[in-house]
């Protein structure tokens, strides 16, 4: 198995405060990796660094062995990495269908084309319909995305994240703020759409984490204090002490 994502000595400071303090992480191809940790530990910041939203202060991030430093988000996306956001980040005024179709454009090779009609492309329209089917929003296809319910917007967020066919998927708290049944639905969806892909996911719900992940990393105060299979991490006394004990109690 080869390495999908490799992070070495990553650091990030906002002004005086160092938020990411020397993170090392290796994620293999086809792995489902969960990053857990208390609020404010720097999980979203880590995702923002990987996806080029912020520049890192120090360290190296490699995607399939290629250095990502200095690359813009769109360049990183074109290299096969896609992400969702903790706070829903969609195109609220466009229809649900349009949202998905736009997220397919680059991967189908349309680039900045002004000589193709989007409505004429079978691959594009059927692809978008298939994604809608997958995320269960076919009935909502012509609604402006901003009018969807919260859970539906989260599903759409995942839909446009996976639509482009990226092989490394980063999901930032996909089930945050959801009811039990909505969570079950999203977990099933994630399982379904990430088959054969590398998944890195920030998640608070321990049920979801232990249900989905092959490997877990625990991030506390900008440092990874443990990485390993779910059972190992659960048994780790440092993790118990720093985080997991209370989270487990809170979660169940």
């Amino acid at each position: 198995m080869t390495t999908a994502l490799e992070i070495t000595n990553l650091r990030k400071s906002f002004g005086q405060t160092e938020i990411i303090r020397g993170v090392n992480l290796e994620i293999k191809d086809d792995e489902r990796h969960a990053v857990i940790g208390p609020n404010g530990a720097g999980k979203s910041t880590l995702f923002n660094l990987i996806t080029g939203r912020f520049p890192q202060t120090a360290g190296v991030i490699q995607l399939h062995g290629k250095d990502l430093s200095g690359k813009a988000p769109y360049e990183i996306n074109r290299m096969g990495l896609s992400r969702s956001f903790q706070i829903t980040n969609i195109f609220p005024k466009m229809t649900v269908f349009e949202n998905v179709r736009c997220s397919l454009l680059w991967s189908l090779g349309y680039k900045y084309s002004f000589w193709n009609m989007v409505s004429k492309s079978r691959a594009l329209n059927e692809g978008a319909e298939a994604i809608l089917e997958q995320i269960n929003l076919t009935a909502r296809r012509d609604l402006p995305a901003g009018l969807l319910s919260y859970a539906e917007q989260r599903a759409l967020e995942i839909g446009i994240t996976i639509a482009g066919g990226a092989d490394v998927i980063l999901l930032d708290e996909p089930t945050a703020g959801m009811s039990h049944s909505e969570t079950d639905y999203i977990v099933e969806l994630i399982r379904k759409v990430t088959v054969g892909k590398t998944l890195v996911m920030v998640e608070h719900d321990m049920g979801v984490v232990f249900g989905l992940a092959d490997k877990i990393s625990v991030l506390v105060y900008g440092e990874i204090i443990a990485t390993g299979a779910p059972e190992e991490v659960r048994a780790n006394p440092r993790v118990q002490e720093a985080y997991l004990g209370e989270a487990m109690e809170a979660g169940h």
Binding site: T51, R53, A72, P73, Y74, N77, R78, S82, R83, N89, I90, F91, P92, K93, M94, T95, F97, E98, R101, C102, S103, L105, W106, S107, Y110, K111, Y112, S113, F114, W115, N116, M117, V118, S119, K120, S121, R122, N125, E126, R141, D142, P144, I160, G164
Partner: protein, 427 residues
């Protein structure tokens, strides 16, 4: 904005469907017969002006409505295209060039300027873009007195369109011949701009407008998406400039300045930025106000300004937004229940506006007319402004109309709500 979805499946399969082509065929026929309905020379002059403004406004909406870029300097792209075309009219080679292809050169020149300016102005949208557009607009307008060879200084430059190579024997001596030339370009440009909005780059322009950051995480550079929309808008503005050159045979600093850039923003917003046809309505209404109303009153700009402010405040979707708001009642088959409340509110509202306008006109006349000249004509009646009667009539109209409109408005609000609610909740 949302109209592609329903028909996309049908169209994905094969060629152009009739329902997609129909509006364009109707528009073409409409343009064809208009001069037979309005035959007077002044009507054709107005229609020519209208058509040029429509192209310009549609081009502007590629930025504002579709790309989310607020430009205060769009006139310069139309202007330079127009100036180049007038220059070409004065060159030797114009004699071997059929006039109808002249606007292409305007378009190319507009595109080249947009290419240069866009390379740095489209990096960011929002305030930065708006300020750069303003600065560049002012800069180029200022050039008109500096680069006199090209812009002709204060008097501008003029040419003669009839020196071109006759086009199937047509020399474009008459307004009507020019009308058909402009109408042809209007149809072609509008169609191309519409199709542009249906291409990958046109769709992504909407995405970048809504959420540039998310677009970047889908593989698109927001900056390049804006750039391509910008140069396309520059091209069509240049086409409008070329048509302006053909129609008026003169271009001046006025074609470049902030006032012209501001008006096209006004026109586009008035028509509504949310729908492709919005700017078309805006251009038609604005040109009519500008030409017809300005013959009636010196204060026409005041009324246009008031209309603009009212649109921004009460109908941010513009006239097209107001029209499209009625889609739901029509779909639900409940529009009939709106007719009576509409009459109850709109008739008094119109009377109120007329009364108010009459009052303003009276006041203006009383204060500014030459001494001893107290007769004035308004609404096809002549009266004396020193007579209290017209003052009373207008005041009663304004106040009475206002009172009645207000009284009817709760009923309209209720009916509107009712007409937009499905009878049974189907979900």
């Amino acid at each position: 904005m949302t109209d592609t979805a329903q028909t996309s499946q049908a169209r994905a399969q094969g060629g152009v469907t009739l329902s997609a082509a129909l509006p364009w065929i109707i528009a073409g026929l409409f343009l064809l017969v208009m001069p037979f309905i309005f035959q007077s020379n002044s009507a054709i002059t107005i229609m020519n002006q209208m058509a040029i403004t429509i192209i310009f406004a549609l081009s502007y909406n590629m930025l504002l409505g579709q790309g989310g870029m607020l430009s205060f300097g769009h006139a310069v792209y139309m202007g330079v295209g127009g100036f180049l075309c007038v220059h070409i009219m004065n060159w030797e080679i114009f004699g071997s060039l059929p006039l109808p292809i002249l606007p292409i050169f305007g378009g190319i020149f507009g595109l080249i300027l947009a290419l240069i300016v866009g390379s740095f102005s489209t990096r960011k949208a929002g305030t930065v873009f708006a300020m750069i557009s303003l600065g560049v607009g002012e800069l180029i307008a200022a050039c008109s007195v500096i680069i006199v060879v090209f812009f002709g200084g204060e008097e501008g430059i003029s040419g003669d369109r009839t020196y071109g190579l006759p086009f199937f024997g047509i020399e474009f001596l008459t307004q009507i011949e020019v009308y058909y030339l402009i109408a042809f370009w209007l149809l072609v440009s509008a169609l191309l701009m519409y199709l542009f909005s249906r291409t990958p780059i046109g769709r992504m322009a909407n995405a970048v407008r809504d959420n540039p950051e998310r677009a970047e995480f889908l593989g698109y550079s927001a900056r390049w998406v804006r750039f391509y929309s910008f140069i396309a808008a520059g091209f069509f503005a240049g086409i409008a400039g070329g048509l302006f050159a053909i129609n008026y045979e003169i271009l001046t600093e006025e074609n470049l300045n902030l006032h012209t850039s501001g008006s096209i923003l006004l026109v586009t917003f008035l028509g509504g930025v949310g729908f492709f046809f919005g700017p078309i309505i805006g251009a038609i209404v604005f040109t009519l106000l500008q030409t017809v109303l300005s013959l009636e009153t010196e204060l026409w700009a005041l009324y246009v300004g008031a209309l603009f402010v009212a649109t921004v405040m009460f109908f941010p979707g513009g006239l097209s937004g107001v029209l499209m708001m009625h889609g739901t009642p029509i779909k639900l088959g409940k529009w009939r229940m709106l007719v009576k409340p509409y009459i109850k509110v709109l008739v008094p509202a119109v009377l109120c506006i007329l009364g108010l306008a009459g009052f303003i006109e009276l006041m203006f006349h009383a204060r500014h007319a030459a001494i001893g000249e107290s007769e004035m004509t308004l609404f096809w009646t002549t009266f004396d402004h020193s007579n209290p009667m017209p003052w009373i009539v207008f005041a009663v109209l304004a106040l009475g109309g206002f009172w009645l409109a207000r009284k009817g408005s709760p009923e309209l609000t209720g009916a509107w709500h009712e007409a937009n609610t499905p009878d049974e909740v189907s979900e």
